[in-house]
Symmetry: none
Subunit: 219 residues, 4 copies
DNA sequence: AATGAATGAGTATTCATTCAT
DNA sequence: AATGAATGAATACTCATTCAT
């Protein structure tokens, strides 16, 4: 019996990645079997090995490619931003939007680090560190300029990332809120959380400028 | 040949829970084998079944007992709090402290819901909903009184819980910061995030009173 | 927790035999677990070993005691019978009646011989041979006297025993037929089968019994 | 490392069925382990699952296929038979012959019904019922025509089947008797048992009336 | 690039049996 | 005479992976 259904040639790899993403997202890496994955793709499990080298490598590549893409796009989103508040807002908007669009990749990259073999783990942690560093630097810059009020930059970095990343746990397209509303809600929480009003100016500016729009903002 | 080494009677169950907690925390439920667990406890894997009925039941009981305890202690922590800001601060302090003390239970209860069989899953989700509801009610109350500024209560609830729960991902006892500092950092982020200064008064009151201390607070 | 329900002292052994009989009858020896058996009796499985030495020994004793009893009662039932036809009728009546009353013992003694260890197997096969021999001798005697028509005594012995024993597979107390009717139906089949009419006289006797219609019928 | 020794492709399934048949016949379904079976076939036990889906399914298919074949061949053997006595003789001859040739399938189909899961059990019992019905109908027809003397058709059906099937318990090819002799011995027992002489004529008339049609039928 | 059949190690769970209490 | 907790081997079945075709 020759192949019945399932994809041919170059499309198969894409089907594997897509199905793998979904299965790992739903069941976890350890709980996903390659038989399941193959069935989803419409091939026999042995045939997977024409496209991947091991289960571990599949996970690693999914995660690595995701983080690389994340970094690439983040840097693009931050381009041209000067003030820390603008950078932070851009970071939040980018992060939330990206997470809504790619929640599976994002979730896996956060939850399956422990499933990576040591060498792969280190590679990924380094990449993830680069991403965290972007946020930490924005916070540090804002604090240095007196724009942000933050008790501890490290804690704030982790906390903000947690806050933002958490939405992969509940977001579903077509829910009660538009993507814009969700972005706005998170912007508000994060910017307020570091002592900025949503409009972008520091609630308390280091240079004590009782600027009018602040009063305006306060209503 | 009866028991040679290993634990005895009622202590074994406690050892199983403890080791199970650690192994699930570290490797995940699916990736933890009962052989590993038994080895950790110092008994044969078959002997586990003198204490548990299935692997699934062990997970379920760990999670259920944890959430029950969490709820019980939360309610105690909130006792006597009147104003929403006080309640929120108490919530944050309790949550962060509890999570530092019981990070494994907390982490598992959040990450292994998908490993629960449907019936168990429903039970746990209901319990977890009760916990989330406590926070949602505090936020709703604060918003109603004009004490909090929140774009969307539902989103804020999830976001705040994510933010707070995230620390199980990086907290290690004996780290750079004291528990108190960590609590304080989170209080600041959350209270500011909903538009409250750390001292507890609303930054902007709903009844537009350009009260002097607000200016003062802004320094 | 001390014993809750279940039998005490000398009654426990009887409960074990009874429950064992039923479980082996229903599921087979290999498929019956001692945990099941213990549960049925209302004790822990370890406690069984206060009464039995091994699972195998339990089977052996059930079977052995049954066959001994069967032999004892058969010999009583055959006492005083002189003519082969009377003996055969008595054998059938006894066998069928006994099998209806003790169908579990009977069934097990026939179906679980293969579960006996070699030594036990030999013991039982010897006993069973003694029982079969009773029937074979009756048949041989009847043939010798010209009372029975039988193609092969050995085959007839096995076939008749099969025929009679088969009712353990379908008999249920309180069914459509009375025990007497069932006995009668089997008497008819067996006696006719060896060429005797139900009234007990040989259809064709070696000593030419001058009954006219019998002669007529016989050829 | 791929297959080293052991069977290949489509032959493996046949080897599994054959070995399974023998092992279940000898030890019983519950007592046969898949390791044993795999060893017999010359593959690893996990490799069995390339051919069967579960142990239970293997049993079910062996039994189902056997009964289907049995029915098919029975119907062929009965073709062209008109008179009940001829049908009964053909039934006995077929049944005994088939049982000698396929004693393992036959034995299993009778002794392992209890090992079938409810759904499978029902399927098989229905098929087996169809076989029993063939015999019951022959007996009923013979009784209706006055050709057979039978106390109770239902009991006679079971008893005759028991009698005939019993030979799986002792028959061994190359024994003392030829197959033909064994068939003849059973024909005699059964036909006499229902009141027919081996030649095919009714032995008796209850009311000793040499009624013409009975005489006619009798030769 | 796919199949189907294999491997060998591993899975959760059950087993008969033992024995200190 | 019972318990409860242990053993060590076994159970059916699954796993990732390999490879001749």
């Amino acid at each position: 019996m020759a192949r019945t259904i399932g994809s041919h040639g170059p499309k198969t790899m894409e089907a594997i990645r897509k199905a793998g993403l979904r299965l790992i997202f739903e069941h976890g890496y350890a709980a996903m079997s390659l038989r399941q994955l193959a069935a989803e793709v419409g091939i026999q499990s042995g045939s997977l090995y024409n496209h991947i080298s091991t289960k571990q490598e599949l996970l690693f590549e999914l995660v690595r490619d995701h983080i690389n893409e994340l970094l690439r796009q983040l840097d693009r989103a931050l381009q041209g931003m000067e003030r820390p508040a603008d950078k932070l807002r851009a970071f939040v908007a980018f992060h939330v939007t990206y997470h809504m669009n790619r929640k599976r990749e994002v979730f896996i990259a956060n939850s399956e680090l422990r499933s990576l073999e040591p060498k792969n783990y280190e590679t990924i942690v380094a990449l993830r560190g680069a991403y965290e560093k972007r946020l930490a630097e924005i916070l540090a810059e804002g604090v240095a300029e007196g724009a942000f009020e933050v008790v501890d930059i490290q804690v704030a970095t982790f906390a903000i990332l947690s806050l933002l990343t958490g939405l992969t746990g509940w977001y579903r397209p077509g829910g009660r809120l538009t993507k814009e509303a969700i972005v706005a809600a998170h912007e508000k929480l994060v910017l307020s959380g570091v002592g900025i009003d949503s409009a972008g100016s520091a609630r308390r500016s280091a240079k004590p400028a009782p600027s009018p729009h602040r009063t305006a903002r306060a209503k």
